[in-house]
C-alpha cells in the first residue's frame, strides 16, 4: 500500500455553509485519506499556502455563495505561480451547469454539485490523482 493521499479541504470566500465540506472531509478520511480542513473564509492565497505547507495531493474546495467563477480559478492560478502542476484541484457546491466547462478549462478538474455521493468523489480522486 502506498502512502495515503493527502487532501486539503478548503472553504474559499465568505460563505459559512460548511456542511458539505465537513461531510466530504470525513468521508475522505474514512476512505483512508489524510484530510486537512482549513475552516471558513480562506483567501485563495491562504489556501495555496496551506496546500504548499501540507504538501497535499488534492485541493478540494467548496463554495455555496456563487463566487466560484472568481475564486476557484484564482486558486489554480496561484498554484501554478508557485510552480505546482501536480495537485488535483476539485470544486463543489451550488454551481450552475453553465459554469462547469469554464471551471474545468481553468484547471478545476472535477466539479461536484448537490446530490453527489461521496463515493463518487473518492473514486474520482483515486482515478485522477497526479502525484505518484
Amino acid at each position: 500500500m502506498d502512502k495515503p493521499i493527502r487532501v486539503l479541504v478548503a472553504k474559499p470566500g465568505l460563505d459559512g455553509h460548511d456542511r458539505g465540506a465537513k461531510v466530504i472531509a470525513r468521508a475522505l478520511r474514512d476512505a483512508g485519506m489524510e484530510v486537512i480542513y482549513t475552516g471558513l473564509r480562506q483567501t485563495p492565497e491562504q489556501i495555496v499556502a496551506a496546500a504548499v505547507q501540507e504538501d497535499v495531493d488534492v485541493v478540494a474546495m467548496s463554495i455555496l455563495s456563487g463566487a466560484h467563477n472568481h475564486l476557484f480559478p484564482k486558486v489554480v492560478r496561484l498554484l501554478r505561480e508557485e510552480g505546482i502542476e501536480d495537485v488535483l484541484v476539485l470544486g463543489g457546491g451550488v454551481i450552475p451547469e453553465d459554469d462547469i466547462p469554464g471551471l474545468v478549462e481553468a484547471g478545476v478538474e472535477g466539479i461536484f454539485t448537490p446530490g453527489t455521493p461521496t463515493k463518487e468523489v473518492i473514486a474520482f480522486i483515486k482515478e485522477n490523482i497526479k502525484k505518484k
Binding site: 468521508a27 451550488v94 450552475p96
Partner: protein, 559 residues
C-alpha cells in the same frame, strides 16, 4: 388522559391485537423494513394508542391556544383571525434591483419584506474590501451605507410594511440605517415593525457570518435589546434561529435543543446586563426550519413552544404572557431541495408549508424550486408564494386551531422531542451554557455526526431521495437560471467612491471617533452607531472601528 380502568382494558386489547392480528399479517406479509424512523432517525412504532399519551394531562401539557404552555399555539384564534405573514426572503445585486423585486412581491400579495444581504455586508466589509472580491451582490443585496438603504426602501412606506432583516454580526448597524431611513420618510422609530436576526451564537455554530468575539457580540445584542425596549418597542430584536442548525445537518430534536439553549444564553446575558426579563422577552422571536417529515415537524414546533414557555416561567420567572410565548418564523428546508429534477421541489415545499402551518407558524418563507442551482427566478418565486396562498385559501387546515392535537402519534412525538431537547439543554448547562458548549465544539460535533449519518444513509439507499438516489432520469432541458450581473461589484465600488467625496468627512471622522471611545466603555452603543450612519459612515467603517476595539472571533475547527 384516561381513567385507570379503561387504560388497563386498552393495554390488554392492544396485546391481543399485536399478537393475533399483527402476528398473522407479518407471517404472511412482512413489513417493508425492519425498523421505521422519522426524517431525523427517531424510531417510529407501528401504531400509537392512548397508552402512549396516558401520562399526559390536557390542561397541564396542552391547554388552550393563547394559554400556557402554548402547545396549541400562541394566539387563541390562530389563522381564523388572520393568516401567517407570507414573507419571501429576497435580495440580490444592487439596492435598485432588490427594491424592484420587493415592489413586485408586494404587488403579488406578499405581506411583509425579508431582506437578504450579500456576504460582505453580513461580515461588515464594504464592497471595495479585498475579501469582498467575487461576493458582492451574490447571495443578497450589497449595502455599504445609508445611501444604499435609502434606495432599497424607496417608495416602500416603512410605517405600513414589516421588514425582516437577515443580519447578525452587524445587526446594530443595519438597524441603525433602517431607523435613519424611516426618519427621512417621516416615520418615527416607535412605528417600526420588523425583525433583525441578530443571533450570533448560531453563526458560530452553523452559519459562519460572525465578526466579533463572543462576549463583545453578546454586548452588542443586549445593547439592542435595551435600546429597542425603549425606542423601537414593536421591533423583534432577535430571531433565535434553529434554521441554519438544521440546514447544517442536525435532527429535529437537536434543532429545538440548540436553538433554545442559545435563547437561554441571550436571556442570561440580558439579565446579567441589568435588564428585567419582562422588558425584553416579549420581543424575542424564533426561526425554525421545515423539513419533509410532516408529522415530526409539526410535533417539533409544538414541543419547542411548550418547552420555551416552561423555561421562561420556571427558569427565568417571567410573568408577562408575551414573555412566555414562542413566536416563530419558518423557512422551508433549502437542504432538502435537489438539483436533480428541480420541479419536484415544488412538491417538497408544499409538504413543508403544510408542516409549518399545522405547527402554528407566525410567518413563512417558501423556497423556490431552483434554489439548489442558483438564486431563484421571478417565476419560481411566484410559484413558491402561490404554494403558501393555496395552503392558506384552499387546503382547509387553517379553519380550526391546531388540528392535529390529540393524535396519539403527534402527542407522543411532541413529548419525545421535548424530552430529548431537555436532555441536551441539561448537558449544555453542565458544560457552562451555549457559548461554552460552542467553544468546546460540542454542539458543532453533534450536528456533524447527524449530518454524516444522514449522508451515509442516503448513499446506502436506506433513505430515498426521489430523483437523487432513486427514480432518476437523464436530464436534458436547460433550466432558466437567474444570473447576477457581474458589474454589481464595480457599480458598488463607484458608489462608495462618490459617497466618500460628497459626504462631510470631518463629521464622519468625528462620529467614528466617538463610537470608538464609547466602545471601550460599558455604554449602550446604539445611539452612537445611529449618529455615525446618519453621517454616511459606511458599514465597513463602523464595523472597522468596532473590530479595532473588540478584535475578531477565532473559529474552532473540529472535524
Amino acid at each position: 388522559m384516561y381513567d385507570e380502568k379503561k387504560l388497563e382494558q386498552i393495554k390488554s386489547s392492544f396485546v391481543d391485537w399485536d399478537e393475533n392480528k399483527v402476528g398473522k399479517q407479518l407471517s404472511k406479509n412482512p413489513e417493508r423494513k425492519e425498523t421505521f424512523t422519522t426524517g431525523s432517525d427517531k424510531k417510529v412504532e407501528r401504531l400509537y394508542t392512548p397508552i402512549d399519551t396516558a401520562e399526559m394531562d390536557y390542561e397541564r401539557d396542552l391547554g388552550y391556544p393563547g394559554e400556557y404552555p402554548y402547545t396549541r399555539g400562541v394566539q387563541p384564534t390562530m389563522y381564523r383571525g388572520r393568516f401567517w405573514t407570507m414573507r419571501q426572503y429576497a435580495g440580490f445585486a444592487t439596492a435598485e434591483e432588490s427594491n424592484k423585486r420587493y415592489k413586485y412581491l408586494l404587488e403579488q400579495g406578499q405581506t411583509g419584506l425579508s431582506v437578504a444581504f450579500d456576504l460582505p455586508t453580513q461580515i461588515g466589509y464594504d464592497s471595495d474590501h479585498g475579501l469582498s472580491e467575487g461576493e458582492v451582490g451574490k447571495v443578497g443585496v450589497a449595502i455599504d451605507s445609508l445611501r444604499d438603504m435609502e434606495i432599497l426602501f424607496d417608495g416602500i412606506p416603512l410605517d405600513k410594511v414589516s421588514t425582516s432583516m437577515t443580519i447578525n454580526a452587524p445587526a446594530s448597524v443595519l438597524l441603525a440605517m433602517y431607523i435613519a431611513v424611516a426618519e427621512k420618510q417621516g416615520v418615527s422609530p416607535d412605528q417600526l415593525r420588523g425583525t433583525i436576526q441578530n443571533d450570533i451564537l448560531k453563526e458560530y455554530i452553523a452559519r459562519g457570518t460572525y465578526i466579533f468575539p463572543v462576549e463583545e457580540s453578546m454586548r452588542l445584542i443586549t445593547n439592542i435589546f435595551e435600546y429597542c425596549s425603549k425606542e423601537v418597542p414593536k421591533w423583534n430584536t432577535i430571531s433565535i434561529s434553529g434554521y441554519h442548525i438544521r440546514e447544517a445537518g442536525s435532527t429535529a430534536a437537536q434543532e429545538v435543543a440548540f436553538t433554545l439553549a442559545d435563547g437561554i444564553a441571550y436571556v442570561d446575558a440580558a439579565i446579567k446586563a441589568g435588564l428585567d426579563v419582562d422588558d425584553f422577552a416579549p420581543r424575542l422571536s424564533f426561526f425554525f426550519n421545515a423539513h419533509n417529515d410532516l408529522l415530526e415537524e409539526v410535533s417539533k414546533y409544538r414541543a419547542a413552544r411548550r418547552l420555551w414557555a416552561r423555561i421562561m416561567k420556571e427558569r427565568f420567572g417571567a410573568k408577562k404572557e408575551k414573555s412566555l410565548q414562542l413566536k416563530f418564523h419558518t423557512q422551508t428546508a433549502g437542504s432538502t431541495l435537489t438539483a436533480q429534477q428541480p420541479d419536484n421541489n415544488i412538491v417538497r415545499v408544499a409538504i413543508q408549508t403544510l408542516a409549518a402551518v399545522l405547527g402554528g407558524t407566525q410567518s413563512l418563507h417558501t423556497n423556490s424550486r431552483d434554489e439548489a442551482l442558483a438564486l431563484p427566478t421571478e417565476d419560481s418565486v411566484r410559484i413558491a408564494l402561490r404554494t403558501q396562498q393555496i395552503v392558506a385559501h384552499e387546503s382547509g387546515v387553517t379553519e380550526t386551531v391546531d388540528p392535529l392535537a390529540g393524535s396519539y402519534y403527534i402527542e407522543s412525538l411532541t413529548n419525545d422531542i421535548e424530552k430529548e431537547a431537555m436532555d441536551y439543554i441539561e448537558k449544555i448547562d453542565n458544560l457552562g451554557g451555549a457559548p461554552k458548549a460552542i467553544e468546546k465544539g460540542f454542539i458543532q460535533k453533534e450536528i456533524q455526526n447527524s449530518a454524516y449519518k444522514y449522508q451515509m444513509q442516503v448513499e446506502e439507499q436506506e433513505r430515498i431521495v426521489v430523483g437523487v438516489n432513486k427514480f432518476r432520469i437523464e436530464e436534458k432541458d436547460k433550466k432558466e437560471l437567474l444570473k447576477v450581473d457581474p458589474h454589481v461589484e464595480l457599480l458598488q465600488k463607484k458608489k462608495i467612491e462618490k459617497l466618500k467625496s460628497t459626504r462631510d468627512n470631518e463629521k464622519v471622522e468625528e462620529a467614528l471617533e466617538v463610537l470608538k471611545a464609547k466602545a471601550e466603555t460599558d455604554e449602550n452603543l446604539m445611539p452612537f452607531i445611529i449618529d455615525a450612519v446618519k453621517e454616511y459612515a459606511t458599514l465597513g467603517e463602523v464595523c472597522g472601528v468596532l473590530r479595532e476595539v473588540f478584535g475578531e472571533y477565532e473559529q474552532s475547527v473540529i472535524l
